[in-house]
Symmetry: C2
Subunit: 495 residues, 2 copies
């Protein structure tokens, strides 16, 4: 991977001076086209050995283009808020919106590579980390983010020379830290580990560009050209890219599925309900007050047809808790800022911190439910979403967040009865809209979408609980029992 | 202030049970009207003595209303990101958008009152802090935020009884902390200090409601009624409130002002410019690398007519810096999320952290410039903005942020020449729009707005620098010299 970046590449001054004005103009032109059309966001990932000109190159890009539309992020030591969240949270919150360019120094590659080079982790951990990176970047690409990944390389000899030179000039001495020299001591190890990481993560949509860092002119021109051509080619590409061929999902041939198997007649009488509910609410309250509860987060997801009783079930949870412990997040249409980002971005904003419970009233599953059924996204989009959602939830689980997901299921007849009841009560807040009626016609399409969703996103880390919800009492008690079990298990894990 | 909250208020069970169903319905109705109309945001501030039922009341409100549209914030120990920003930043980022209700436990009152009760600050500091709070709340009210401020009070005897009772019940023991008892030791002091704070900050638009906390039924009904009546009265109020009478600003009778006095013929030749520029850029670079620079933030504001050379001046600053040290924020029309918040909210999001420079290409001054001239806001709005902006910048300055503001001034003739030049060059990015030409017609109105702005918002903490910008070389050198001086002074202060 690094051989061709140890050849001593050089550009002479005359060639450089002749090339730069045209390149700058093309870069600026492309950048303004991006700013105006807001067609995509670009992320420039900067990695590589110390002293290979990473900082200079970022400065150069900011000088050649308009810095008002570039966001440069030095991803150094995480803040305590960042440490309180899953590892990728800090990158999600720094993602540039459409129309902007984000430069990331230190990226999702840094921690796994450095940890492995220092021998803190095994090779298997590096491989797993790179697998996760691959899936993350694939998701970004599918969401239209253009990735330019630049790796600045120096041979062992070049690096030593360069660090020494930087250190002897008072104007650049500050750039060389002790960490740089301690990294240098691990040069061979670092080289081997990064080569493996790069090889695994160089893909068709986001290839690594290895840049020899010794000659400043060669470095700058190479990077400038790479950025310009990535910008231009994506700007000029047709807006609707050819959709990948997707395999349609098959329905079970015998029509038997997880929903049809449900016994929707399950019910509780009022007295039993009240006794059970109180017991479970008390238990939930006690669980969330345990000292270990300060160390886990809880993400509760509610999905279900209109009038399935999500709101009522949520209120039975919150009533058992202190208001400072939970946030309820109703998911409606995304805002302007949210639409300029990959679709999971708005849920990353709401990930609970340790000690907190976040209850999602509808969730990221909108992509494989309403967006699929209504055709708001392509079939390629919702098909890849299953994997992306599994990755997302796995990251939450790895940070110690209990992910508890409920599908509240009612029969079409029960829904009809509830709609009619709502229409008859005077409260305007329960008014049934034309859309609610229209959605009813799509029951079979939703049926398929729900079965696929449950099958493809029920993982051991984040299983679905299907709740028979024709009887509200039964549903609420089942929700609370399940939630308690899951929280108790999570608490036991951190004890 | 507290006398009437020590009378032993009580509501018997029968009265309570009769009142609650109607109250809940009215509360929920009002809340849904708010959610649908998004007419305003409501903030419920909860303060008072420990053990007086603050937590129970917040839980009650969440139970009576729909918790999906309530955001409850426990403002406990600040995170390190919060400590890295001006003190009010954590409250700004928690402000509810229009349509939502935010409950704040621990608010802008907590720190000043506790510090004074513990004797860590003098009385003058409390008075000043309350003055700042007053102005902050006045700004919120003017921006349409409805404030309900609840103070939960207990007499000394009642508090002791209540803490002991809570502590002896295993289900509520967790609520009583050592801090609670140490606060109790200061009961008299705390009472005196909070009484003074409350008296100073009880205003017509945001009065304190002191609630006797001993009887749960009295407490709940009082708070529920207060919230419901605040919601309903603001929902039913006419959309466009009667504007306060405003005194028009006067122009100087002799037509002499800071702009007319400028010598716009100042210019530099190219060689002098290049020599001076390089020297100043090197100095800026060295200043920002000083170890103390990690402890100050820099906020640079650029305002000026179209084509005044803001972008060029900004690039001469960023070219001297490492890309990881600065962010350039171009200010365009606010996004949907930003429009649902007080107008300064979107600038609070961008306040630099220590070690960082944020360059604003246009800024919060839009309110007193384009919004005033184009009539996008009422005259009452822009008139109050001067004070609000001064408060904002003072808060930045108090956190050690150097606020450096430039007005780049060109003559109408020079602007015309630049517009024509831009029209002639082929680059589409410099295309002049019809709006640019239209703005030229409003030159006299802008002239007045600029003079007022400079006069009313040039403070010792954040003075304006007017830059004669007919000659770009002169302008850029003056910008860099001024910036260096201001940064150097800020660095000296923290050394």
């Amino acid at each position: 991977m690094f051989e061709s970046a140890e050849l001593g590449h050089k550009i002479d001054k005359a060639t450089y001076d002749a090339a730069v004005p045209g390149l700058r103009e093309r870069l600026l032109d492309a950048q303004y086209d991006l700013v105006v059309a807001k067609k995509f966001a670009m992320i420039i990932v900067i990695g590589g050995v110390d002293g290979a000109g990473k900082g200079e190159t970022a400065n150069q890009l900011n000088e050649w283009m308009d810095p008002r539309h570039i966001q440069t992020h030095a991803m150094a030591t995480p803040t305590d808020e960042e440490r309180d969240h899953p590892a990728m949270w800090r990158f999600w919150r720094a993602l540039p919106p459409k129309g902007k360019i984000g430069i990331f120094f230190g990226s999702w590659y840094t921690e796994p590579i450095v940890a492995r080079a220092y021998g803190l982790t095994k090779n298997a951990a590096l491989v797993q980390a790179m697998d996760r990176v691959l899936r993350f970047e694939e998701m970004l690409s599918s969401e239209g983010v253009v990735l330019v990944k630049l790796w600045f390389h120096l041979s062992r000899e070049q690096q030593k020379k360069r660090l020494t030179a930087l250190e002897s000039d008072p104007r650049t001495r500050w750039r060389v830290t002790e960490t740089d020299w301690s990294h240098f001591g691990l040069y061979d190890k670092f080289r081997k580990v990064s080569e493996r990481a790069l090889r695994k993560t160089s893909t068709a949509s986001a290839p690594w560009i290895v840049v020899e860092g010794a000659d400043a002119r060669y470095r700058s021109l190479t990077v400038g050209t790479a950025v310009e051509s990535a910008l231009r080619s994506h700007l000029d590409a047709p807006s609707a890219p050819a959709l990948p061929h997707v395999a349609p999902l098959l329905r079970p041939l015998d029509e038997l599925d997880v929903l049809r198997r449900l016994d929707l007649t399950q019910a509780l009488d009022k007295d039993t309900y009240e006794a059970k509910l109180e017991k479970r609410q008390r238990k939930l309250n006690l669980l969330m007050r345990r000292p270990e509860a300060k160390r886990i987060g809880v993400a509760v997801v509610f999905e279900g047809a209109d009038a399935a009783g999500k709101g009522g079930a949520i209120r039975r949870i919150t009533a058992a808790l202190d208001a400072r412990q939970y946030h309820v997040v109703p998911i409606a249409a995304p805002t302007e800022e949210e639409r300029a980002q990959p679709y999971l971005w708005r849920f990353w904003r709401q990930v609970p911190r340790p000690g907190q419970m976040t209850v999602f009233d509808r969730s990221w599953y909108g992509r494989v439910l309403v967006e699929r059924v209504e055709g708001f996204c392509s079939s390629a989009d919702y098909l890849r979403a299953y994997g992306e959602i599994n990755d997302f939830e796995e990251q939450l689980a790895r940070r110690g967040i209990a992910v508890v997901k409920f599908w509240l299921h009612i029969s079409p007849e029960e829904q009809l009865a509830r709609f009619r009841e709502r229409e008859e009560t005077g409260f305007k807040r329960f008014k049934i809209t034309a859309e609610d009626w229209r959605n009813r016609d799509k029951w079979p399409a939703y049926h398929d979408a729900i079965c696929d969703m449950i099958e493809r996103t029920s993982s051991s880390a984040a299983p679905w609980t299907i709740v028979e919800a024709n009887d509200k009492y039964h549903a609420r008690v089942k929700v609370l029992s399940t939630l308690n079990e899951r929280i108790e298990a999570a608490l036991d894990r951190v004890r």
